[in-house]
Structure formats: C-alpha cells, structure tokens
C-alpha cells in the first residue's frame, strides 16, 4: 500500500530503455509500488548515451517532461540533465529545461559527465540555472571519486549561494558521511539524500544528530534497487517521528515548493 507521506527524491528513468523494462517509466512505477513509495522526483538516468550531443540531452529532458505530465500524481517533480562537455550550447539546454520545460532542477553525475563538479566547464550550466528562481541541483558525490568528490560540491555551493543543491548518495561509507557532515556545517544550501547509504553504524540517527533532520532526504535509487532497504532504514531509525516524516517527504516537499503549491 503506497505511503502518501513518502516523496522519494532519487528515482531515475532510462528513457531509451525498452518499454516495460525495470528502468523504463513503467518499470520504475512497478518498483515504487512494490516498495510502497507513492511519489518521487523523477530524473533521467545520467548514463544516457549522447551520440547526437546536445540533441541527445534535449531528448532526455523532453522525455522527462512528458513523464511528469503523464503521471503527475506519481511524479510531482521532474529534473532535467545538462552536459558540461556541450559548452555554451549545454548551458542553453539547461536553461531550456528549467524554463521552457518547467523542470524543477538538474541532476549531475560528474563521473558520467567527465568533468569535475567544480570545473570551469560546469560554470555556464550553473550560471544558467542560477537565473531560474528555486532551481535545485542534484549532484552525485562519492568519497573516492576524482570528479565528484564531496569537497567539489562544497566549492560550487559556496560559489552559487542562490542555488540549492542536493548531494545524491551522500552517505555511502563512513568517510563519505564525515565529508557530508563537514559540507553541511559550511554550506547551508546543501541537502543530503540517503540513497545508496551505508546501512550500518546508525546512518540516519547520526545524520539527524550531526546535520539536522531538516536537510536529510529519503532517496531510493530506483531502478538500481528492487527493494529499498533505505526506506526500511529510515522507518526503523531511532529518531523522532516528526523528524522521520521530514526525511521521508516533508523536507522534499518544502525544497521543491510542493507545500506552497498545495496551499
């Protein structure tokens, strides 16, 4: 039975995947249902292929818009993609995704983009996003990555104080957890998702204690999981029920402006 309080911030769809496969829209909805996840922030799988360059990216963003329009009750929020290797035209596509298509933000996996989070090639994209009020940048981090080290997210969050960032996969191991806590102390414009988190050593409890419940977001990483152990991790965490509600959906609704829209 879907839990109406859950808003999963981390669900990807591979729009090039065969219809009905696990990573297609239909497959993702099946997995959400199986886990009792009512609603999610949908974003294109960052590993999409780009044989046509910017046109490949635009096709992903168009598909994300169509999916959000087709299932507004399941995907109340959609994110787009943009590629730093596409230069100025990549920035134009970022702006189009956020304005013309009305997507709520962009997702970056810089290991896939091939450019560091804080590299010069990212600047035009983030500058374009900064012109759109309320845009959210979801950025994958990984403690041992060359291109998506957590500190690099801190650099761009400091450079772009008007943008809100979500560190995707922010607690993959204890080093990553420590880096996320450090980021949280220094940058108030970063939120942190629990997708792919370590499930030992009280990850949720420590995140609430060290960062605060109001910046922690539940993310499932569907379709890379069939069963969301991280949803269970939040449900059984030794934290206040109000904090649990914030993590499972309240924070995300506030971050993406859904509470304001409901009023």
């Amino acid at each position: 039975m879907p839990d109406p309080t859950v808003l999963d911030v981390h669900v990807h769809v591979a729009f090039d995947a065969p219809t009905g496969s696990a990573d297609s829209v239909e497959g993702v909805l099946r997995t959400m249902d199986a886990n009792g996840i009512d609603t999610a922030v949908l974003s294109p799988s960052p590993s999409y292929e780009t044989p046509l360059g910017v046109r490949s990216t635009a096709a992903q963003n168009d598909a994300a818009r169509r999916a959000v329009d087709a299932w507004p009750d399941r995907f109340p929020v959609g994110l787009g993609v943009a590629e730093p290797r596409h230069g100025r035209r990549g920035a134009d596509e970022a702006h189009r995704a956020l304005t013309e298509l009305g997507l709520s933000g962009l997702v970056f996996d810089n290991d896939v983009c091939g450019q560091p989070i804080d590299g010069d090639a990212m600047r035009p994209l983030l500058d374009a996003a900064a012109t759109v009020p309320g845009a959210v940048m979801a950025v994958f981090t990984m403690a041992y990555s060359v291109l998506r080290s957590p500190f690099r997210l801190g650099v761009v969050a400091r450079r772009n104080p008007s943008l809100r960032f979500v560190s995707f996969n922010a607690f993959m191991d204890i080093t990553h957890e420590a880096a996320s806590v450090d980021l949280a102390e220094r940058q108030p414009n970063i939120w942190f998702d629990l997708a792919c988190a370590k499930t030992q050593l009280s990850t949720v409890e420590r995140a609430v204690q060290q960062i605060g419940a109001d910046r922690i977001l539940f993310g499932s990483a569907i379709p890379d999981v069939a069963r969301s152990h991280h949803l269970e991790m939040v449900r059984v965490a030794d934290i206040d029920d109000d904090d649990r509600a914030l993590i499972l959906g309240g924070n995300a609704r506030r971050l993406f402006g859904l509470e304001e829209a409901a009023r």
Partner: protein
C-alpha cells in the same frame, strides 16, 4: 635541451580539455617537443574535449589529429583516435573511419573523462571493433584510485583481446599503481606501459627495469600538460639503469610497437 638519445614520445595530446582547462595547438606541441629534445611523437586527442554535436564533434577532433600528422609526418608519424563510449553503438563506424580509412594506429581512451568505466560493455564492443583491424593499438589511461579506469579494468580488456596490443598510460603514477603494474604485467603480455606522469620518488624506472625488464615501457611526456620542461624525461635520463635500457624506453620500444622507421 640536447641529449644523444633517439626520443619517441608515445603520449602527446592535441586540442583543448574542458575537464582540466588545458589546451595545446600544433605549434605549441611542436615547440614543447623541441624544448625537450623529443624527435617525434604519437599524437592523440586531448581527453575531455567539448562534444556538443556528439559523434560529429568527435569526427572533427579526429580530423584535426589526422591533419596534424599530414602536415608534420616527421614529428607526428603515428596517431591515435578518440571514440566516445557514451555515444554508444553509433560510435562504432568512427573506429573503422579512423583506423581503417585515415590510417590511425588505434584508439585512445581516458575513461575518467569519458563517463563510462573501462570495463563497461560498450567499451568491449568498441575494442572488439578495433581488434578487427590488424596491428591496431588501444591506449587506455589508468589511475589506481579511479573507479572508471582502475588498472584492473584496463586489464580486463587486455585479457579479453589477447591479440590486440594495449598501452596502459600513466602506469607508474604512485607507489601503489607502480606495484600493481609490476603485478599485472607478467599476466598480460599484450600490455605495454608508458612512463607518463610517473612518481618522481622511489625509483620507479629502476624498479620496473629490475623486475620486468626494459622492453615494455615507453617514454610519454603528456605534452601539453606542462609549461616547458618534461620532468618525466629527466626521470628516465637520470635513472640508474643500463644505457641500453634507456634507449629502449626512450624510443626503441615505441618504434617497434608503433612500427616507426628510424
């Protein structure tokens, strides 16, 4: 800089890297070759170039490499092409166009800047296509702490295509990678290594010559990634190894692998 060695550099890049904000045009590359006394080089596209038009962007990059070779055949006698794994199956014809039609010696990959791991299924597909071309060479950059181009991932490709020759670039970057290289090399006789961006302590050249011999390591400068002097060259020139080993590492091995006449 002058010395009495015949120096062939297997690792020179042309173009502008959006990833690392480094660029080198042909004139700049030639100047840096001259500054370092390097006779000729294997030229490849600089990793991480912008590709707003996808495959068309890559074709333009490769065309520029071919043009540089045609303009300076004595300095860039051999060239490697870029093929982007993120372009998927539509990228495969570029393998045939470059290696088959334009006379490239093989392909160059730097997976940290190309988005897909070196052992991604698309990489196997590309390498399989490359292996259809006789005498082709696959250059793959590696980094011991990378999760996209760790040496073991490069090794998986080399093990899967034993008839193809591989160049593991940056194989001596730090003590862990050097140790891994020494462990990996005996298992993969089709893998060669370059000395580009080597650790400048702990005697890496002396170690590899002592433990593996001198016939599978080749000098690489990484031009244009330095202002002028290439200290990786100094590392070899001043290594405590036999002079004949230096000759092989500095040029002889590269001439043999890439079939570059004296």
């Amino acid at each position: 800089m002058t010395n009495h060695y015949d120096i062939v550099d297997v690792h020179v890049h042309l173009g502008a890297s959006a990833a690392l904000s480094v660029a080198g045009g042909v004139d700049d590359l030639l100047r840096k070759l001259d500054v370092n006394g390097i006779g000729c080089a294997v030229l490849s596209p600089i990793p991480g170039q912008e590709d707003p038009d996808g495959i068309e962007s890559t074709r333009a990059v490769n065309d520029a490499i071919a043009a540089a070779r045609d303009a300076h055949p004595d300095r860039f006698p051999r060239i490697l092409a870029a093929v982007e794994p993120r372009h998927g199956a539509p990228a495969l014809p570029e393998v045939d166009r470059t290696v088959g039609d334009l006379g490239f010696s093989g392909l160059s990959f730097h997976n940290d800047f190309q988005g897909f791991p070196a052992d991604h299924p698309t990489m196997f597909t590309i390498i399989e296509r490359l292996a259809a071309h006789p005498s082709a060479i696959a250059q793959l950059h590696s980094a011991i702490h990378s999760w996209l181009e760790a040496p073991f991932q490069v090794g998986k490709l080399a093990a899967a295509f034993p008839e193809l020759r591989f160049v593991n670039a940056h194989a001596l970057m730090d003590p862990t990678q050097t140790s891994y290289t020494l462990w990996q090399a005996p298992q993969l006789p089709n893998m060669y290594f370059d000395t580009c961006v080597s650790q400048k302590y702990g005697f890496p050249i002396e170690r590899v010559v002592a433990e593996l011999g001198d016939d599978r390591f080749m000098f690489g400068s990484d031009i244009p990634y330095m202002r002028d002097r290439c200290l990786d060259l100094d590392l070899i020139l001043h290594a405590d190894v036999p002079d004949e080993s230096k000759r092989r590492i500095l040029g002889g091995n590269a001439r043999r692998l890439f079939d570059i006449p004296e």
